[in-house]
Amino acid sequence: MHLIWEELRAAAPLIWHGDPYLVSVIWFTVQVALIATACAAVIGLPIGLAIALGRFRGRRALQIVANASLGLPPVLVGLVLFLAFSPQGPFGSLQLNVTRRSVFIAQTILALPYTVALSAAAVQALPSRLLDQARLFGAGRRQLSALALREARIGVMAALIAALGTTLSEVGAIVIVGGNVYGYDQTLASSALYEANAARYSAAIAVGIILAALILLLMGGVTLLQQRTGGIRLRFRTAT
């Protein structure tokens, strides 16, 4: 307990005096989190909608894969990407290993199961006759998708929050495919790991505290957005 307290005391000045390295890591972390979550949303929400609304063969199998992918080991994702981007791999010509781009790609892949599986579940939880009625009034696929996303917005926002959390804190894939290069492609999470591996525990704790604060800030913002759009107020109104 004494040791932790000492390290926390030593970490405080590092946070207050914020050197350029730390600022660049925070900025890169925010960039990775927002861009990877946005990419996972753009790719994942249509797939989630297709699972929930579609009537194609293999729909159930796709949902099983999406749900199973929620437990995808980040280290495995990092290894597969590393091999795929290595010179002998299928995407070797792209020369993506140990680049910032590979960090974006890895975090997008890890966030994707959340946007697919949780958005599909949110849409499936809607009253089925609401969507049936829209179909019977002649709603096309795009109109149905818009209706479903809007009606399931609380659950869809939860999917985005889960995706954002993954992109902020997952470290297993990016240290393999990105290399965890000091001052280049480190996020706060991989930076904390870097400092801990070097036995600089005060620095690791300082970075960890900043990461936790950033998570609180971003998640808090998105949760407020969820409550504003999602009808928490509407529920109160309905109950009275």
Partner: protein, 321 residues
């Protein structure tokens, strides 16, 4: 059968059979609904009414037979789920799905809401509506798109008696259109009497009666239909079954028949009496002061429907009324 008007049919089904899974829920049903006509489809729970309606709308495939639709079909499903928006936004959304130009949507939505007595609800969020208001908006949405054929699945389901009566009164005029063929599934006979020009009765997946409501009530074609329409008394008389409804059985000290009261259930303004006779069992409603259980009463029969003993599928069917 009787009751079909001469106007052109917009919806016609010929010997339609509809499966649900492996079971044929609707069997060999033929019907038509003409322009300007409101037809009620009545039947007990599980008779296949909603399945038939879905098939008529084209939402369910048929296993046999043919369905002709002349014009666009709108169907209002039984559940009145609305999007979490205002009532007006829900209306405008549906009109958009239907393909109505943006400039016309609001006016058409408001006109339909007013027609069904919901003109004041436009700005209310759907989540704050009562069950009756929600049903009004659901109906208004179906009317607003102005389909050629309108199919309504139990539009008054789940309402308390007062809300149902009010909505029914407003629907009588709102649903009437000379341009439209309307088929409405109802669960309650009173709804059919109030709304429909013609009544179809579906029992066990088969269409067992088609006619004007009053005619069907006064002379039901079969004992099964009679029983479904509230003929709850039976009496073996001159080798035939005489089926009666409570108004047909009149307590009269000078009446030719004698019966014993075996059950008395209190009603708002009297008692419903179950009367045991030598050859049957009848029901009537007696004003206060009513005879009590065990009393002997005299009565006469003023109406009813007669069926040959062979016409009822078996005597148990009638006796179980």
């Amino acid at each position: 059968m009787s009751g079909a008007p001469s106007a052109e049919p917009l919806l016609r089904a010929e010997r339609v059979t509809v499966p649900r899974g492996r079971r044929m829920v609707v069997r060999d049903v033929s019907l038509d609904v003409a322009r300007g006509e409101i037809v009620a489809l009545l039947g007990p729970n599980g008779a296949g009414k909603s399945t038939l309606l879905d098939a008529l709308a084209g939402a369910l495939p048929v296993a046999g037979g043919r369905i002709e639709r002349h014009g666009r079909v709108a169907i209002a499903l039984q559940s009145a789920d609305l999007a979490r928006r205002t009532v007006m936004a829900n209306m405008v959304l549906a009109l958009g799905w239907w393909g109505i130009p943006r400039s016309e949507r609001t006016a058409r939505a408001q006109a339909a809401l007013e027609a069904i007595g919901a003109g004041h609800l436009g700005r209310r969020p759907a989540g704050t509506l009562s069950g009756g208001e929600r049903r009004r908006v659901h109906l208004a949405r179906a009317i607003a798109v102005q389909p050629d054929i309108l199919l309504l699945d139990e539009p008054f389901a789940g309402l308390d008696p007062e809300a149902r009566a009010r909505l029914l009164e407003d629907s009588v005029s709102a649903l009437r259109s000379q341009e439209r063929a309307t088929l409405v599934v109802v669960h309650d006979r009173a709804e059919a009497w109030a709304l429909a020009d013609r009544l179809l009765i579906l029992i066990g997946g088969e269409l067992v009666a088609d006619g004007r409501p009053r005619e069907l009530l006064e002379s039901p074609p079969t004992a099964t239909v009679a029983r479904f329409l509230g003929y709850d008394g039976h009496l073996l008389d001159a080798g035939e079954w005489l089926l009666t409804r409570p108004p047909h059985v009149v307590l009269d000290p000078a009446g030719p028949l004698e019966a014993t009261v075996v059950r008395a259930v209190a009603l708002e303004d009297g008692f419903r009496l179950e009367l045991k006779l030598a050859t049957g069992r009848l029901f009537t409603v007696a004003a206060l002061p009513a005879p009590g259980i065990g009393d002997t009463v005299r009565l006469r029969i003023a109406g009813g429907a007669r069926f040959a003993r062979s016409e009822a599928r078996d005597e148990h069917e009638v006796m179980s009324v």
